[in-house]
């Protein structure tokens, strides 16, 4: 029998970016808040100390800061005719475990998704006609506008210490920024990072092609910085151990050094580590949550934490998993198309062009998370005509790089042997002189891409794994193929000595790392039948459960996700504070 704990007002599941934001914002309401985090504590001094943290084998190869797939994982397959098999070790994506979540080891690239994403269906219908949207693509508007999210984007950029240059300040285009971004009221809190050689060449080449390069906006502090909560960030040292690592200089805007410590200063907020939530407990009507059931993973004890309000902040995939395990909302059935929980699962498109420049040194290890130049011309620019290309979405294209750690990064020209002296010579020759132009592509929802519970495989608690059915469908393939062509075009304009064949994935594999940008599964919207949560991320079915994270995204963009993940979290926190707590019930 589980031990029942004294009730609290609010329980938050997960202490990463969104859990930290919710705890920070709701702490001052005076509510008694408990945050349950499945993993352990983390501090810069202990966990990210140099030289300990600068260990590619431990952190990048053995994924030390990340989800332990021996305990819980997902099962994967490309389509419903296949049998899903467990992802036995991490590969394609790297969810977090422990305080900070994936936010501890993220890169920091921060975008404001604008109306071309938030109103994607209306935008495409207006421009290309409703027929342009394939029948098997359940494309939807998000139910919020850029203007509504703008203040929350700003809030996140100032909390996380984003380095960048405004492209559109109150409607006025600014040189050096992204001319296609939504109008912003304030510039970024920090100037862009120092450009590296790769970024310079990319900038020159894309300008020459009439495109609009700018420094990628990223939460790697270009200068020492004190955020609005008084938290201090150090200056980024371009150490090249950013993505997959914690930052010893406190220069990466992570929840660990921003929202979480601020939240925990409040005596109303209690963090319980090693607390693995198994499900949200519902009352007999199934319409009200009464708390959560969890396990202390250090003692094995089962506990129940009663609460009036449950906020899931467990990362998109785990949010959906917990909803399915708890019976919150109607699970999606891909056959009939009925149900919403698990639908609209999407991921990230990619394409790349690897090149080699004799005699030029890119010093790929002088790098940081979001360093690089990027173009948004083939994504946010509404002038970019998708008609002849026949796809929805687009790609951002970049060169720069977050590090040149040599177990993972050793490009050689096509045809080079994989071992032996010739391999060594090619590796020695080209390590410094290789450069890749990379595309990050959108993924549109598809009826056959979804999440549900696996019928066979179970986690360490005996619960069914989350099952992921996903592949890059026709629309994504067209987009990624086009992105590969664009990468090649841009690459050639940089005058390389040698060029490898361009790459884009023909199907999704769980093996190579692509991105930790898993979206959908508990999507937001204005209608209960077609969305899992309203635009305040509140479950339509169980109104005292909020589901915060990229699980709410109805599609995935050509941008990284955390900007809108955080903005939506701030908007939700405000709605809970100002409206829900005064009058619990559906906010929409």
């Amino acid at each position: 029998m589980a031990r029942r704990l004294p009730p609290v007002d609010i329980v938050i599941v997960g202490m990463g970016w969104t859990g930290g934001i919710m705890a920070r914002e709701l702490g001052p309401t005076g509510q008694k808040i408990v945050v349950l985090e499945r993993g352990g504590p983390r501090s810069t001094e202990e966990d990210f100390a140099v030289p300990l943290i600068r260990d590619e084998l431990r952190f990048a190869q053995r994924t030390d800061l990340m989800m332990d797939t021996a305990k819980d994982t997902v099962s994967v397959r490309n389509n419903p005719t296949e049998e899903a098999l467990p992802m036995r070790r991490l590969g394609s994506f790297l969810p977090g475990e422990g305080v900070g979540g994936a936010g501890a080891h993220w890169n920091g690239v921060s975008w404001r998704w604008a109306d071309h994403d938030l109103k994607i269906r209306s935008t495409y219908e207006a421009r290309y006609g409703a027929k342009f949207i394939p029948d098997d693509m359940p494309l939807c508007d998000w139910g919020v506008s850029y203007a509504e999210l703008e203040p929350y984007y700003e809030k996140f950029e100032y909390i996380a210490g984003v380095s960048g240059k405004a492209g559109n300040l109150r409607g006025r285009l600014q040189p050096g920024g992204n001319p296609f971004e939504g109008a912003r009221k304030r510039d970024y809190p920090l100037p862009p990072l120092t450009e590296n050689y790769a970024g310079r060449l990319f900038t020159e080449a894309t300008k020459g092609l009439g495109l609009h390069p700018f420094a990628r906006p990223t939460a790697n502090a270009s200068r020492p910085y004190v955020n609005p909560d008084g938290m201090q960030l150090g200056q980024c040292q371009y150490c090249g151990f950013c993505e997959r690592f914690g930052c010893e200089s406190n220069a990466k805007g992570s929840p660990n050094i921003t929202v979480i410590p601020v939240a925990l200063k409040n005596p109303n907020v209690e963090l319980r580590n090693w607390s693995w939530v198994q499900k949200v407990m519902l009352d007999s009507t199934g319409k009200k949550a009464v708390g959560v059931a969890y396990v202390n993973v250090q003692t094995g004890e089962e506990l129940e934490q009663p609460a009036d309000l449950v906020i899931l902040c467990a990362y998109g995939l785990s949010n959906v998993h917990l909803m399915l395990l708890s019976g919150i909302g109607k699970p999606y059935d891909p056959q009939s198309g009925v149900g919403v929980i698990g639908s609209h699962y999407a991921y990230q498109g990619t394409a790349s062009q690897q090149m080699f420049f004799e005699g030029k040194n890119f010093n790929p290890f002088l790098a940081t998370g979001g360093l690089g130049a990027i173009i948004d011309d083939y994504h946010a620019d509404q002038g970019f005509d998708r008609g002849p290309l026949g796809y929805i979405g687009g790609s951002t294209i970049t060169a720069g790089g977050s590090g040149g750690r040599p177990i993972g990064y050793r490009p050689t020209p096509a045809g080079t042997p994989a071992w032996g002296s010739d391999w060594k010579r090619a590796t020695a020759k080209w390590y410094q002189s290789a450069l890749s132009v990379n595309a990050l592509g959108a993924v549109m929802p598809h009826r056959q891409n979804f999440l549900d519970l696996d019928p066979t495989y179970r986690n360490r608690f005996g619960q069914p794994l989350l099952r992921m059915t996903f592949d890059f469908k026709d629309n994504d393939q067209k987009q990624n193929r086009h992105a590969a062509e664009l990468c090649t075009q841009i690459g050639k304009a940089m005058n390389p000595t040698r060029v490898n064949p361009a790459f884009y994935p023909r199907s999704w594999s769980v093996v190579p790392y692509q991105s930790t940008h898993n979206t959908g599964g508990a999507i937001m919207g204005r209608e209960p039948g077609t969305s899992a949560v309203n635009t305040w991320l509140q479950s339509w079915d169980v109104s005292n459960v909020f589901v915060v994270g990229a699980s709410a995204f109805p599609h995935n963009s050509a941008y990284n996700p955390t900007g809108p993940v955080a903005a939506l979290a701030y908007r939700t926190a405000e709605a809970i504070r100002d409206r829900y707590l005064k009058r619990p019930g559906l906010l929409a």
């Binding site: 397959r77 070790r89 050689y197 020695a428």
Partner: protein
């Protein structure tokens, strides 16, 4: 020379008691190994003698001595592999190990019911068995050309291992660990004297580059003596 190069430490191990191992003055090589002052002591904790011979043969073949670095065994890559297999990763740390076990598609990734250490052990035994059947000798005794073919065939899954182990799965773990042993921090036993980092120009763990990033952004090479974890400890 017909005698294929065999890693000297495994040879020492194998030689233990066996007098006069042909053509290889093992004793003369002891000082060489000692002089390199490895970060991790020599000797094997996981690999059995015949396995050590196999691993050293693979490592020496894949990372031969040349103008760039000493051979892979001298770089400590076999030691690295031994420690990796003996340690938590080798024992299946973070690996989801519940059945049912199905082959699946390549997109579904690794699906064998074995830890990396078990996979290594089985792969060595089956590759050696295949070599014995086909060539009448174990892998380490093959000529360089024969070794090259075996490794190519394993990597392309053209070779059918007698115990039914998928060749590619074995090759993948071998290749991964050879590369890790070559380029990981020397504290794990490989990349001795940071030779692989020097080979490519990777500066290692010491990196306060807020100034350097502005200086080395015009195509010139960053001059650096690599720094390892041990150097900073």
């Amino acid at each position: 020379m017909s005698q294929p190069k065999v890693g000297r430490r495994a040879l020492l191990l194998l030689a233990g008691g066996v007098a006069g191992t042909a053509g290889s003055p093992a004793a003369a090589q002891v000082p060489a190994a000692a002089a390199a002052s490895p970060a991790v002591p020599v000797g094997y904790t996981f690999l059995k003698p015949s396995e050590a011979v196999f691993v050293e043969a693979v490592v020496t073949h894949m990372i031969p001595a040349d103008e760039l670095t000493p051979d892979g065994v001298e770089l400590g890559i076999a030691t690295f592999i031994d420690r990796a297999l003996a340690g938590s990763w080798g024992k299946g740390d973070r690996l989801y190990m519940h059945g049912p076990w199905k082959t699946g598609t390549p997109n579904q990734g690794y699906q064998l019911p074995m830890t990396p250490a078990e996979l290594y052990r089985a792969g060595i035994a089956q590759t050696n068995a295949w070599c014995e059947t086909t060539h009448g000798k174990t892998f380490d005794r093959l000529t360089a050309t024969e070794k090259e073919t075996v490794l190519q065939d394993l990597s392309q899954a053209r070779l059918k291992l007698p115990g039914g182990l998928p060749a590619r799965a074995f090759f993948d773990v071998v290749y991964q660990t050879v590369m890790e042993g070559m380029f990981a921090d020397p504290i794990y036993g490989g990349n001795r004297d940071k030779a692989a980092w020097k080979m490519v120009g990777f500066p290692g763990v010491m990196a306060n580059n807020a100034q350097n990033i502005a200086i080395f952004n015009d195509g010139r090479r960053f001059p650096n003596e690599p720094v390892s974890i041990a150097d900073m400890s």
